[in-house]
């Protein structure tokens, strides 16, 4: 998020380049929130470690391309497999805890992952970050420009969206929904819920490596501040505001929360407050959605419109 704020101050508004930059960010957050939606939305594993796996993907890609000159197309599968493996090992232990304790445990995992990125100086250069990550090239053409890069992210968003939609409509997806609603019943019809949770959590983390790799190659410089607990809370908020299990909702919520500071700046709010104001607004939306027990921000309006209709009568 910090990188984004710095970028905003350097690039002028009303600039096409900047608009494209926002679209790319929306794509990155759509990928992040939709992948978390698999674990949190469908399976009910409210995880606060997603930014950690996002960072794991970004750091794997960055280190491989800077130190060994690997291309993006090789980095991506390695990052995904690594992120998935770490998530699997971690989930074997984290999934022994339930409910609130799982959230605290996942937060602990997030803090440990962040701590490794921030303090393992010899490998990650700590707070100095990793500069000079080359841009992606495809069939010998460099994707330095924003338009081809945006097209590439668009391809990834569609692919992930399609995969997650397939999962949602499959027996596997229905079993995950069943786990989130009633673990005891799901066990009683012969489902190994522990294994299914591990699969869901690991696959979700695996997909989180995709935006990580894209982000690293796009921004060409990464540092640990992009992968903090607050970032995890932000991604979780997108999922909840968009609606649990609602993939399109995650996309709309990402777009809304990325464009919100721009809108605030447009109405004349100073830069320093706009960033905080966005967090205040999403904090407020999160509280409202949860307090009213609705599934996503959209449903808040649904009820209100019904109330209004009744009043008009």
């Amino acid at each position: 998020m910090k990188v984004q704020v710095i970028l905003i101050s350097y690039i002028e508004l009303n600039n096409l380049e900047y608009l494209l930059h926002l679209f790319i960010l929306i794509a990155v957050y759509t990928l992040l929130s939709q992948s978390l939606n698999l674990a949190a939305g469908m399976t009910g594993l409210i995880s606060l470690s997603h930014a950690g796996f996002y960072g794991l993907g970004a750091y794997t890609t960055a280190l491989l391309s800077v130190n060994f000159g690997f291309s993006f197309w090789l980095n991506l599968p390695i990052a995904m497999v690594l992120s998935g493996l770490v998530a699997m090992i971690v989930s074997f232990v984290a999934l022994r805890t339930v409910e609130d304790y799982f959230i605290i445990c996942s937060m602990g995992i997030q803090i440990i992952l962040f701590s490794l990125m921030n303090n393992l100086m010899e490998v990650t250069r700590g707070p100095l970050g990793i500069p000079g990550i080359p841009s992606i090239s495809l069939f010998g053409f460099g994707l330095d420009d924003k338009i081809p890069f945006l097209l590439l992210t668009f391809v990834f968003v569609s692919l992930v969206w399609l995969i997650l939609r397939n999962i949602k409509n499959s027996g596997f997806g229905n079993t995950l929904i069943a786990i989130s609603e009633d673990e005891i019943y799901t066990q009683s019809i012969g489902k190994n819920i522990y294994l299914l949770k591990v699969q869901s959590f690991s696959f979700s983390a695996m997909l989180a490596a995709i935006p990580g790799a894209l982000y690293a190659h796009y921004i060409s410089y990464i540092d640990p501040t992009s992968f903090t607990v607050n970032e995890s809370i932000f991604i979780l908020s997108i999922v909840i505001i968009g609606g649990m299990g609602n993939l399109a909702g995650s996309f709309y919520a990402s777009a809304f929360l990325i464009l919100l500071p721009e809108a605030l700046r447009f109405v004349g709010m100073p830069d320093s407050i706009a960033a905080n104001m966005r967090q205040i607004i999403y904090g407020l939306m999160l509280v409202l959605v949860i307090m009213t027990g609705k599934n996503g921000f959209k449903e808040l309006f649904k009820i209100r419109s019904i109330v209004e209709k009744n009043r008009n009568r």
């Binding site: 397939n166 999962i167 499959s170 929904i177 069943a178 005891i184 066990q187 009683s188 012969g190």
Partner: protein, 249 residues
């Protein structure tokens, strides 16, 4: 198929045993009923059998295999299905999806198949849905097939839990109060369905209070009181037993 309980002991409190040294057997292709007062441990017995609670001692053998210590999903995969006293269905899914969910060996239950485009599994999926629809028809759920399971009536939800248990394909069905709290016409329908299932070779073990319903379907009765189990062939026999009379009145 055979199921035998041997010396099952269980108690929530140390000094007072809820189930005291229970031993009995069930045979294939019959309908058994378990009766007893409130808090006599009927549901606890089901929970022990399906692995949700661990007994203090004793074993349960199912086709020669010891079930004690297995996790609930493994016990189910061996062919023991159950319903719960409080209706447990997945309210976020439709009636049809609930039935398909309970079916075993659905290929899209695997993550690797699930990520693929739908077309690849469409034939199999249809096959499963057809089977689910026929089960739904049998349980009078055909007109609410695509409704959310949370939005259908209580009686229909009750039918759905039994439908799911049948779709699960188990040989032994444990039904916790299938006829409680529903209209008489549904009760008769459920009674007929259970008899049909018996003819198909399923073994059914009921917990039930409704004497008309029991009279209609059951082949054998058990009565659980003060941690002991009594066995009867007919309801009349049970009613005349002095211990039962004491427990009920």
């Amino acid at each position: 198929m055979s199921l035998s309980f041997k010396n099952i002991k269980f108690g929530y409190q140390k000094d007072k045993l809820l189930l005291n040294d229970l031993s009995f057997d069930l045979q294939s292709g019959k309908i058994y009923t378990l009766m007893g007062g409130n808090g006599s441990g009927k549901t606890t017995l089901f929970n022990i059998l399906t692995g949700f609670i661990k007994a203090e001692s004793g074993d349960i053998r199912w086709n020669g295999q010891i079930l004690t210590g297995l996790s609930p999903y493994k016990i189910n995969r061996l062919g023991i299905g159950r319903t719960f006293q409080d209706l447990r269905i997945i309210t976020k899914l439709t009636v049809l999806e609930n039935i398909v969910l309970a079916m075993k060996e659905n290929p899209t239950d695997r993550l690797l198949v699930a990520v693929l485009p739908k077309q690849s599994g469409i034939k199999l999926k249809n096959q499963f849905e057809q089977k689910a629809i026929s089960i739904a028809d049998r349980f009078f759920l055909d007109d609410v097939l695509n409704s959310q399971a949370g939005e259908i009536s209580y009686g229909q939800q009750k039918l759905l839990t039994i439908a799911c248990c049948v779709a699960n394909g188990s040989d032994l069905l444990l039904l916790d109060e299938p006829a409680a709290g529903i209209q008489p016409e549904y009760r008769i329908k459920i009674g007929l369905l259970l008899k049909d299932l018996k003819l198909e070779g399923k073994t059914i073990f009921l917990i039930e209070h409704n004497t008309d319903f029991i009279q209609e379907v059951t082949d054998h009765l058990f009565f659980l009181t003060e941690g002991n189990i009594l066995s009867f062939d007919t309801l009349e026999e049970l009613k005349q037993n002095p211990i039962v009379m004491e427990a009920f009145f």
